[in-house]
Symmetry: C2
Subunit: 383 residues, 2 copies
Amino acid sequence: MPHDLPTTLTEAATPALVLDRGKLMANCDRLKKRCQALGVRLRPHMKTLKSIDAARYALDGPDGGIAVATLNEAEYFAQHRIADIQYAVCLSPDKLPRVADILRTAPGFSFFVDSLHVAQHVVEFARSSGAPLRVWLEIDCGEHRTGVDPDDPGIIEIARALNHPAVRFEGVATHAGHSYRVPEPALLQSVADQEKRAVNVAAQKLRAAGIPVAGVSVGSTPTAVHLDSAAGITEIRAGVYMAGDLFQVAMGSLPLEDVAVTVLATVISHARRLNQIVVDAGGLALSKDRSTAAGPGPDMGYGLVLDVLGRPIISGLTIVDVHQEHGEIRWNSSLPFERLPIGSKIRIVPNHICMTAAMYGHYLVVDGAGSVVDRWRRTNGWS
Amino acid sequence: MPHDLPTTLTEAATPALVLDRGKLMANCDRLKKRCQALGVRLRPHMKTLKSIDAARYALDGPDGGIAVATLNEAEYFAQHRIADIQYAVCLSPDKLPRVADILRTAPGFSFFVDSLHVAQHVVEFARSSGAPLRVWLEIDCGEHRTGVDPDDPGIIEIARALNHPAVRFEGVATHAGHSYRVPEPALLQSVADQEKRAVNVAAQKLRAAGIPVAGVSVGSTPTAVHLDSAAGITEIRAGVYMAGDLFQVAMGSLPLEDVAVTVLATVISHARRLNQIVVDAGGLALSKDRSTAAGPGPDMGYGLVLDVLGRPIISGLTIVDVHQEHGEIRWNSSLPFERLPIGSKIRIVPNHICMTAAMYGHYLVVDGAGSVVDRWRRTNGWS
């Protein structure tokens, strides 16, 4: 039941997801310029913001491509006339009919494969259906999630299968997700190098075997920010940089002031005997992601508490515990109950914005100091 | 983009949320009978399943009431002609106009208050608007989330303010959320006693002060299952019992075979060198809830892996790690790659179903061995 657009955040129903348009634009421009300086295309990953309105700021030029993490996202962006959509996930063959449908509206749609078994299914489906499938070979650069090791001779066998007249073999792609596990940001440079080396090694081996490799795709927000040269790389994928979150701040990807997406909540209870303030944003509104607990910076609980305009109240004030719809603010000295009366609003910076934003059907878009200027729809889920 | 209803789970798009209707019915019947034996009404908490179709099995009689945790849920169930809806959360005064709207379709709508400040706002709003507000005084029985300590003399002051001709004072309510923190199920009996005692103490004090107390409401699934007498109690609220999850199994609320809601996923990658199978259900499809890691039973990672019909593959096989859309199955000896080829389906029992189910817009309803018989819509979010 969408309600009328509130004029200011103070009047908004809570919990709500707030997007600062000026900060989003600045974050998008910064990585676009960085990629231009490195001489690579930017392929913004829309798994984080899942909104066509956000994509328009993130696209690298009017015909720029995007990456997505679900077929539902692909369908949504295809409906909004994005033609070049990379599903940066290994496709299981049962999803091929859905892919054929997507290709009718997004002719540049492509997906990942990491096995000969699936490559053979893909070629067979393309031959029998005539669907113009486009496929990337996924390389494992050290994350050990999906992808083939670049030193595995199997990469040539898979690429050779995909290098078939019925299919367009797009090239090699990898994701340095292990960048999220480094104990300190200084080590990100070496992860970025490892990511770049893995796909370059794979591309060289395929080319040496006579298989043309046009695309060489890397990406994660921490490595995109730390890559110092893009030799051999054709495109960088990243997503979280648009919004930012506490984990990215701890990783040095951006300063706290640049975080563009926060959760708006209302104070619903005071317990002075427990030195506790409770808000109406809990485990669902914030997600149960606790990535700062294991990150290189301080443990930020379930999120950092700011005032309704996004300014600090007490440095390091956090949501210490959550229940489904309750968040508990506690502190090691007396809480400022007078500044946060029941009914007042706060903003919460989450640990991991991809997880938090997925709980909301739309963003309240603000420009500067709390004026609500728009509502942007998000797509969520899988079907 | 909802697709046609698949005939069997093997044909369903994934990830998807699967609800076994027979198990749901049995779980609902079991707690209904238990409450009948205890002589109390059951007020099913719909924050877990958020579906009118599920509510019809859970209701304690055709005019039975429900509890909800968001005003969005209240609006949804009001539209579906449930009249008696208890918003079991402390209301902040800014939400009163929305409550007045809900009361037009759900005349039995009520909410919680835990401060004199809000009680006074509520009475003033009821006087000036004429809205027939119904209010419960929330008591803290030891969870220390919201609610007033039953020994705080403030309870009489708040209840006296609410005992006003413009408002209907419904009674006292509490939630033993700390039942989720006991190290072993044997201690649940004492938490259930504590929950019951707290509201009975509060009710007695209010009655001694001349304030009528009609309703005495308790509830959490673990205490509801372990309560041995309901003396003084008029209603029990519980929600997770309908579905069950790994944490409830560890707490002894129900056996694993009775868990009614699971996540359907597809195998998308094999990495024999890492002894790893990857599925298309990750942190969003399962949630980042890790409650079994701190619970009384074994750590179940991000969920227990079963076959597509819900039968064990290897006892204790779990999703060990997740990324946004990837779940990693690993095991301490060789994984059964042949039994789980790429493209095959599995079912995953989550840690905490309230968090997991919130990621899905609907349930695929199955009856028995994997035939899909219906699709039930869920309501999610806050607006």
